[in-house]
């Protein structure tokens, strides 16, 4: 093991039923460095962290620390004993206990607690780390940032050598983030190795020394911060090499339809309780546009706000220039808006119900509680769309959960098409489905637009969006940061906009 190394992970493998979450991932951490672990959702960051903290046990691979080669970490207790501490995104302390109690809970060896000594020790640490809290204060009375710091103080006092911060900044405001960074730099100067997991690119470039990028459970690479410009980091996370991208533009068919100058939907200063900044948005008749950005950048939250799926806090919404109120999904449906949600399993299918019931559901609800379709009519609707979208199912009576992912998605698509919406929102319609179905869905989107439907299309695969959309709204850190259309629609330009900053 190299000198100065504090942690080394080699060839880590971890599988779950049906998924290989980590495939031979290497990771190393030096003394006194802040190391960013980057990747999109599902890239394997969390799994790697959980292997390191003993929440999961690894299938293969070796974890080494200076004093011991190949340590076995099978429980969070093992990790703590090895000097690995974690501070999670959500505070995992007890708000009704005092700061000192929180710092020492579960660590006493004897039956008797020396309260005085405990409080004194706690105060000493708080002072040394410059944390604005006192030992006897109730934790709930501290701000979230201070609570986060107390969690870190607890970790530090447990004599940790490796500190893992898993998205610690997502619930903090700017000043609080600054304070946290101060504490991180302080710990760094004391020789603690810090693993920093975050979605915020700006923050990575502000405090980190090195970056490890994961994608689809594999290691993309490890870079010094100075050697990896933002755009390249984004490219690495998305899995597109910069050099390959320049010529893709030529292959894109693009959207060919006529866009009539009729604004179907318009939103002004729309904001929901899902934590996105207010945004403006519009779509014209026959237009296909999209929200792009890294996962977690707020693109799904935007369309959920449009559909009323999250609680709308502020903003004006117009359909064909007339102001309407969309407070819940049914309001949106009445306006002719349909929404295919991102999470098919959780928000889309009604698993135990038949394909037929799943197809008619939205139109049935729109038609009314007291006007159920006759069995024959429902069957006719179902059969029409099973044929139209080429859904592979034994019969319309088959429960939807026994269909393959791609066919389930087609059923949900059928559900919304049956409603004959004016404006169709598709959030990740092609995720996790086979290539053939993907192409089918892309073609369908363009066909629908040709018939005059407005479509908003969201996909993690940028080339898919380039192929279908004529205008892209770019999101970063939960706000819109740009809009691209025409000549600007290229992989490079999108990545530059996503990366922002000095690019």
């Amino acid at each position: 093991m190299e000198e100065n190394r504090i942690l080394e992970m080699r060839g880590i493998e971890k599988s779950f039923p049906g998924v290989r979450a980590l495939r031979g991932v290497d990771f190393s951490l030096n003394k006194g460095e802040i190391h960013a672990l980057m990747g999109e959702n599902g890239a394997g960051k969390s799994t790697l962290i959980k292997v390191l903290t003993g929440v999961y046990s690894k299938d293969k691979g070796k974890i080494s620390m200076p004093d011991k080669d190949d340590i076995q970490i099978n429980s969070p207790q093992d990790a703590q004993n090895a000097g690995i501490s974690t501070v999670y995104q959500e505070i995992t302390l007890c708000p009704n206990l005092t700061v000192a109690e929180n710092m020492y809970i579960g660590r006493g060896k004897g039956v008797i607690t020396n309260w005085k000594k405990m409080n004194e020790d706690a105060n000493k640490i708080l002072r040394s780390l410059d944390i604005p809290a006192t030992a006897t204060q109730q934790l709930a009375s501290c701000s979230i940032a201070v609570q986060q710091m107390v969690a870190i103080a607890r970790a530090v006092d447990m004599d940790c050598k490796v500190l893992i911060l898993d998205e610690p900044t997502s619930s903090l405001d700017e000043q609080e983030v600054e304070k946290l960074f101060g504490l991180m730099r302080d710990l760094k100067s004391r020789g603690v190795g810090i693993i920093f997991v975050t979605h915020f690119l700006d923050q990575v470039y502000e405090v980190c020394d090195r970056i490890t990028v994961l994608r689809d459970g594999t290691l993309v690479g490890e870079y010094a911060i100075a050697d990896l410009p933002r755009v390249e980091l984004v490219a690495k996370m998305l899995g597109k090499e910069m050099d390959d991208l320049s010529d893709i533009k030529g292959e894109i068919a693009g959207y060919q339809g006529d866009i009539v100058d009729d604004v179907v939907f318009e939103a002004e200063g729309l904001q929901s309780d899902a934590g996105i900044k207010p945004f403006d948005f519009y779509i014209k008749k026959g237009e296909v546009n999209g929200f792009t950005g890294l996962l977690g950048s707020g693109r799904s939250e935007c369309v959920r706000a449009i559909f009323g799926a999250d609680r709308v806090l502020a903003g004006k919404v117009k359909m064909h220039g007339k102001e309407v109120k969309i407070a819940k999904p049914l309001d949106a449906m009445k306006c002719g808006i349909a929404y295919l949600p991102e999470d098919r399993k959780l928000d889309g299918i009604v698993g135990d119900l038949s394909v037929r019931d799943n197809i008619i559901l939205a139109l049935q609800v729109l038609t009314g509680f007291f006007k159920p379709f006759s069995k024959a009519k429902a069957q006719a609707f179902a059969e029409e769309y099973i044929k139209k979208l080429n859904i592979k199912t034994a019969s319309a009576d088959t429960p939807i959960k026994s269909l393959s992912g791609g066919n389930q998605q087609k059923v949900i698509l059928a559900r919304w098409l049956l409603m004959h919406p004016e404006y169709l929102i598709l959030d990740e319609p092609t995720r996790g489905i086979d290539v053939g179905t993907k192409v089918d869905i892309q073609k369908l989107v363009l066909e629908l637009a040709g018939e005059g439907m407005s479509v908003t299309f969201i996909s993690s695969e940028t080339d898919e969006m380039l192929r279908t959309c004529s205008r892209l709204v770019v999101m970063r850190d939960r706000k819109t940061v740009g809009e691209l259309s025409g000549e600007d629609l290229s992989q490079n330009k999108i990545m530059e906009t996503i990366a922002g900053g000095e690019g």
Partner: protein, 358 residues
């Protein structure tokens, strides 16, 4: 014709029908040994001087009917909320007590009815629905687990019922009031059968002419997805509890009518467990979602079948719950995924072995 045993086994109605067959066989065996006749129906003259049908099967129909009425509501609550209402017995006491109070006008031994019976019944309906609304509010709006939410009325209900009549036991003077729990003169079939039939037909019409069934199942299976399809899950759960409240009121009418008075601590005791058991016996998942109302109703009559059979075997009424418990254990174990999987493996390996032999 090929007999597809696998398909048959996967049918929801296989358990209730198997239970009926087993119970019939047991009774048949008893008949042969003891030279008795379980399945015969006689015409006898009852206390009121009417000629009515009598026999174990009539008893099953009579007492199974009140359970069947409750099973309707319990099925909907189970499907929508994924939990059960355990306050049914206590709310029957409340609704029944309110009805007595209105009918007797606050007197313990009135000479005549203070209000027509229909008014008393309507009051019971309102009280039943209010209790349902209270439970529904806790479950749908405050998202408390149904069993915990209904524990409140389960605990307090009988005291509330006693309080409504100042802990006295008024007796309804009108003999007509007793018809609901026994027989209408000139009709040899128990009135409860007609009441249950009316309730079942109403429920069937409700399911046919509204989307209650589709919405309830959708909410029970996937609440988030239902909401995104424009359904209001809160309202659907709430409605299911209100409907159960109505069923409770009807059951209260029958229960109070049987005695023409009330016994706060005993009336409809443990009936919620039988109602839940009816839903489970029908093969409906107690975790909610898809449901089959007919199976639950069948389940209700089977439970009464079992109770009557046990009485016939001279099982002490105090020991009855223990026997029912055995049935519940068998039922739950046989319908558990673990056993089902094992059974399927067994049947498929047998099929494979047969093929090899051939």
């Amino acid at each position: 014709m090929k007999f597809d045993i696998k398909k048959l086994l996967s049918n929801q109605l296989v358990i209730p029908f198997a239970a009926i067959i087993i119970l019939c066989l047991v009774n048949l065996g008893y008949d042969i040994v003891k030279d008795a006749s379980f399945f015969s129906i006689e015409v006898v003259t009852n206390n009121s001087g009417n000629s009515v049908f009598s026999g174990p099967l009539i008893t099953i129909l009579d007492y199974g009917s009140e359970l069947a009425i409750l099973a309707i509501g319990m099925t909907l609550v189970t499907a929508a909320s994924g939990g059960q209402d355990i306050s049914v017995g206590a709310t029957i006491a409340i609704a029944g007590s309110a009805m007595l109070r209105v009918l007797c006008g606050g007197n313990t031994r009135p000479e005549v009815l203070a209000t027509p019976i229909i008014v008393g019944f309507l009051v019971a309906c309102i009280v039943g629905m209010l209790c349902g609304a209270f439970n529904g509010m806790l479950v749908a709006i405050f998202r408390i687990q149904p069993m915990i939410a209904t524990l409140i009325l389960f605990t307090a209900g009988r005291s509330i019922a006693a309080w409504i009549n100042n802990n006295e036991l008024p007796i309804v003077p009108d003999p007509k009031f007793a018809y609901f729990g026994s027989f209408i003169p000139g009709v040899p079939i128990p009135t409860t059968v007609f009441i249950a039939a009316a309730c079942i037909i109403t429920a069937a019409l409700l399911l046919k002419f509204t989307n209650l069934g589709l919405y309830t199942q959708a909410v029970g299976i996937n609440e988030s997805s239902s909401r995104l399809n424009g359904i209001n899950p809160t309202a659907i759960k709430f409605i299911s509890f209100i409907i159960l409240g109505l069923c409770v009121a009807v059951a209260a009418l029958i229960k109070v009518s049987r005695l023409s008075t009330i016994n706060y601590s005993v009336i409809a005791k443990d009936i919620e467990m039988d109602a839940i058991l009816a839903v489970a016996l029908g093969g409906n998942a107690l975790s909610g979602g898809k449901f089959n109302l007919w199976a639950s109703i069948l389940g209700a009559y089977i439970i009464q079948f079992l109770t009557t059979t046990l009485y016939r075997f001279k099982v002490d009424s105090a020991a009855l719950p223990a026997y029912k418990a055995i049935v519940v254990i068998l039922l739950v174990v046989f319908s558990s995924p673990v056993v089902r999987q094992k059974m399927q493996q067994f049947s498929s390996s047998r099929a494979a072995a047969k093929k090899e032999v051939a």
